[in-house]
Subunit: 119 residues, 2 copies
């Protein structure tokens, strides 16, 4: 049996910002949902490109030489190796698509590092 | 320079149904947008799981033993090997995520087979 996944229903299941949740998998990747609020940490992913599709709110992703503003209904792909800092002035709901090997803080391991779990 | 991609802007660039357009790439996959209207063809993908995220409208995906109804803001993953038939009674706008090797008609090659192009 296959299940249709509602983004809104899944977003209702959690509140904590910066704790991505897994809601689907395909090929070698996970579909994750995350709520973002405030500033994250500068990091990059050694081997993984990462897609950010904004579902609600406005996400800023700072790069070392550019700043991206992503509104609901817009996405960006941050290629592997590119340092980035996500910033959400107000709460942002985002869909992430990234290889299963991806750690939320990339090359950095600190108190913001979390293991994504299925919901 | 990185570009923020607006789904609405990209959907304005084409009309023809069942002709997926490439709007992004990450890892070994493409992000594609498609407009669907009417009934497609039964097919499966030998090696590729495929994600359908409905942006607008209501998509029905018939499986051999189940029928999935996917509304805007919902997604399904159709795993490799699973026969499926997308049906859109009214126009549907959908975001697809699938490996670059994926052909729209999967194991079937006929007049509905098209090569996706970048927009």
């Amino acid at each position: 049996m296959f299940t249709v996944i509602s983004l809104a229903d899944k977003f209702h299941l959690f509140q904590e910002p910066w704790h991505p949740k897994i809601v689907g998998e395909l090929n070698d990747s996970y579909v994750k949902l995350a709520k973002l609020k405030g500033e994250f940490v500068w990091h990059h992913h050694e081997n993984e490109d990462e897609l950010f599709l904004v579902i609600k709110g406005t996400l800023v992703i700072k790069l070392r030489d550019q700043e991206l503003t992503i509104h609901a209904g817009e996405f960006v792909v941050i290629p592997k190796g590119v340092e980035h800092l996500p910033v959400a002035e107000e709460e942002v709901q985002v869909l992430l698509l990234e290889p299963k090997s991806t750690l939320n803080t990339g090359n950095v391991q600190n108190e913001r590092t979390v293991e994504a779990e299925w919901i």
